[in-house]
Every structure is written in structure tokens, then in C-alpha cells.
Amino acid sequence: MSILEVQDVSIAYLIGDFKEIGLKEYVLRKIRHDYHVTEFWADRHVSFALERGEMLGIIGANGAGKSTLLKVISGIMEPTEGSVRREGTIAALLELGSGFDGELTVRENTYLRGAMLGYTREFMNDTYESIIDFAELKEFEDRPFKQLSSGMKSRLAFSIASLVRPDILILDEVLSVGDGAFRAKSEEKMKEIIRGGATTILVSHSLNQVRDLCDKVLWLHRGEQIAFGDDVQGICDRYEAFLAGKETISGDKNAPE
């Protein structure tokens, strides 16, 4: 029984006139029949399944629909077509730096973020010290968050997030934060979580990381699923060849998965 099953998922984004216009414009355009909302398909017919403990790497150029797919998997968005079936708890670490409140102190932000990630208060009380130690922000804990440097912010975000023990873990470009020393530390920590048995989905632009860590690869290009399978090295090779311009995708579409 697979722990995560994505079946023929298509996701449409609404784009067009509805944003940025006020009420007056909206009414006027409605009257003039000049109000256009079109759908933009960020993902089309994506299907894959993951077993417990597997690690999936999602690769693809910018705008391939990776982040949108992750939002659907984590339940922030609903798929326009198709279905997603998940077993167990799910934690998504998307764009770690956002969602903090600049006016609150580091300590208050830590608790707030912990709460957002679904931790309990007792858990936060117990682990707060180790979070701050790991982020190396001991002397900043009562400073307003906005005074931190951006490196410090992402260090804190990573330290809080790295405590999650979900059944399914989603990582969007979060494996590498901070400077050299912290980077090594955070990668070590991440590997520890992955070894802990969580089913992991990793979005990364570092092909080496994908090759090292993943058992399965999903390649997306402009919303289309180009390839999915456990032939990690093979798919990565093809992706690399494609990036270098040596291979075209049209020839790839019928390739066996």
C-alpha cells in the first residue's frame, strides 16, 4: 500500500484580470464583457506513487510546476482534476523564510512557527533550547526578528523545521541554508531525518543532491510529466543532456518510464 498516491493530477491557476483591479474596474469590465479570466495549467496529468521510506526528487526548470504540485500534495491547494491520497501526517517546508513576524522577538517567532508546523506547546518548551542552540542565535533570542540578518532568519527557520517527524516530508529548496559551516550541519541534520524513515519529497536544483539521496525521480517540464521512475541516474542523465541542449523533450515523451 503506497503512502502517497498522486493520480492524474492537473492543476489550473486562475490568471487574468481579476487580480489588481478594484471593484469599479471589475463592474465596468463585467458590463463591457471585457472581464477575462483564463486558466493556466501549472501541472497536467501528473501521476506517481510513493512507498513508505522512499525519497522522491522532483527536477525541472523554473516554471515546471514543481512548487504548485507540492502545494497540492500538502493540501494547501486542491487539484483541479485528479486526486491525491495521503496516509499519515504531512509536513511541508516551503520557502522557509516567509511567515515570520518582524515585530515579534526571536523566541516568540520560534513558538509561533512551531505552532504552525503542528508541534505542541510541551514539545516546544522541551526543545526550544536546542532549537536556539542549533541556529546559534542564543544571544539574539529577545531581539525583534527584523533585526536578524537574512542568513540568521533562514538558520532559525531550518532549525525549527528540522524537528518535524512526519510520515511525509516535503522539502522545497531547503536543504542548503546559511554559510558553509551551517550548511554542512543542516545537510547532516536533513539526512538524519530522511534516515528516520519519513517518506520524503525533495525539490532541488542541485542534481548531485538528487542523485545522492533519491530513490525515485519525477521530471516535470512546463507542467507536463516527462519521466517518473526509479532509474535515478538515467533520468538525471537525460535531464542534464536536455539542459545542455543535446536532447529534445518531444523525443522523450514516449520514452518508457
Partner: protein, 255 residues
């Protein structure tokens, strides 16, 4: 429901804390402002209107205070509720949390402010020689319903605000208008029965009227009056819930 509450309690508490801290940041008086601002409004009205409307009326201060007390709670709650969803866009587009939590958190804050002002209100009642009767317990009824009403409107407004920022200005104008139409500083006794009945269509007037009946006249409003209030609150709340249910996963297209 209970399970959800358990799951999100910690987050909810942290959100309430955050809202409190960010609201009173860099104010010398801090929370005192939430009591002071309705009091200042009361003071101004008392000075301005006593000569016009307060002549020959007993307990005019209490009469006014009933109005400003509920009206302040209403406007504060709806205005803050309106922006609650939008200002947390950075969170709900990244983490899967129930979106109504942001609104509820704001409403907890305004409810506490209201509670504090209510204490001052009772103090003023003493000064105004109001006799306290057991009927004061009934004030819980309009307070709870106003809470529901405010949350319902907050749901509607915060959703609309995501779609159209104009709502902010429209609502500002509307609440001003509502202030003049809710008989806060005047009585409607002079109007014809037809016009007086029109006031019953205004929920804000109903809430204020309920308070005045209990506090000043020491009479219990009729059953119909109770039902009308209940219908207003439930209706607004239901519409709000329906909107949130429908747009729950679609808000993020608009931010």
C-alpha cells in the same frame, strides 16, 4: 470539532499573543487605549449632544454609553477582522492551517477590549444611579449574539477584502452611516410608527435597544425581539461560513 480544537489550540494561542503584542507595540498606554477610545467618543458625544437630545431624558449618559459601547465593539471587530485574512497571506499560502483562525484570533482581542469597556460601563451605571437588577444577567444574550454577528461579518468582509480592496473604504463609509442610523445619541420616539419599525431592520439598533431596555428601563424585551436578534446573527454567520467553505482553497489565487 473537538479534535480540531485540540490540534490547533497551540497555534491559536500563539496567534492571539502575536496580535496582542503587535497591536500595542510602541504605545505608551498599551491596552488602556482600547478602553480610552470608546470613553473619549462617549465624552465628545456627551458634550455635543446633551443640549440637543439629552434634555428631559433621564440617564442620558448611560443611554449614550449603551450605544457607543456596542458600536465600538462592532466597528473594531469588523474592521480588524476585515484585514485578518489578507495580512496573514504569507502564512496560509505556505502552511495548511484553517484560515478562520486568523479572524478568530482578532476577535478574541476585540472581545477582551469589549469586556474591559463593559466593566467601565457598569461603573458609569453606578455613577448614574442605575439600579442593578437580576435582569442584567440577560445582557449575556445580546453580547454572545453580537460576538457571533461580528465573527460572521468578519468572515464575509475578510473574504471580500481578499477579492476587492475597495471594501475597506466602503465599509468605513458604511459604518459611519450606521452610526447615525442606530440611534446612538438620539431617541426614535418622535418618529412615526412606520419609521420606528424601519429601525428594527438594523441589527445594530436591536443590540443597543436590548441593552437600554435592560439597563435603563429594567424590562425584558419580547420573545420576538429575541428571535429577531438571533435570526440576524445566525444569518450573517451562516453566510460567512458558506463563503469560507466555498473559497477555502481559492483564496490563494487572489493574493
Amino acid at each position: 470539532m473537538l479534535e480540531k480544537w485540540k490540534k490547533y489550540r497551540f497555534l491559536f494561542e500563539e496567534l492571539v499573543k502575536r496580535d496582542f503584542k503587535t497591536k500595542y507595540k510602541r504605545t505608551v498606554l498599551g491596552m488602556a487605549w482600547s478602553v480610552l477610545s470608546p470613553l473619549l467618543m462617549l465624552l465628545v458625544m456627551r458634550l455635543v449632544f446633551t443640549h440637543f437630545f439629552g434634555r428631559g431624558m433621564n440617564h442620558y449618559t448611560t443611554y449614550l454609553f449603551c450605544g457607543t459601547l456596542l458600536y465600538s465593539y462592532f466597528t473594531e471587530s469588523t474592521n480588524q477582522g476585515m484585514t485578518s485574512l489578507m495580512s496573514n497571506a504569507a502564512i496560509f499560502t505556505k502552511v495548511n492551517v484553517p484560515k478562520y483562525l486568523f479572524l478568530f484570533s482578532k476577535n478574541v482581542q476585540t472581545l477582551i477590549n469589549f469586556g474591559l469597556t463593559l466593566c467601565v460601563f457598569f461603573l458609569f451605571c453606578v455613577l448614574d444611579h442605575i439600579t442593578f437588577t437580576w435582569k442584567f444577567v440577560l445582557l449575556l444574550y445580546p453580547v454572545v449574539l453580537l460576538m457571533v454577528f461580528n465573527v460572521g461579518l468578519g468572515l464575509i468582509l475578510s473574504a471580500l477584502f481578499v477579492f476587492f480592496r475597495d471594501i475597506q473604504y466602503l465599509w468605513g463609509v458604511f459604518t459611519q452611516l450606521l452610526m447615525y442610523m442606530s440611534a446612538i445619541f438620539y431617541t426614535i420616539d418622535g418618529y412615526s410608527p412606520m419609521v420606528r419599525n424601519l429601525f428594527l431592520l438594523n441589527p445594530m439598533y436591536l443590540f443597543i435597544r436590548y441593552f437600554r431596555k435592560i439597563v435603563i428601563e429594567a424590562t425584558i424585551p419580547s420573545v420576538w425581539f429575541h428571535l429577531l436578534l438571533l435570526a440576524d446573527a445566525v444569518f450573517v454567520f451562516t453566510v460567512g461560513c458558506a463563503i469560507y467553505k466555498k473559497y477555502n482553497t481559492r483564496f490563494l489565487y487572489y493574493v
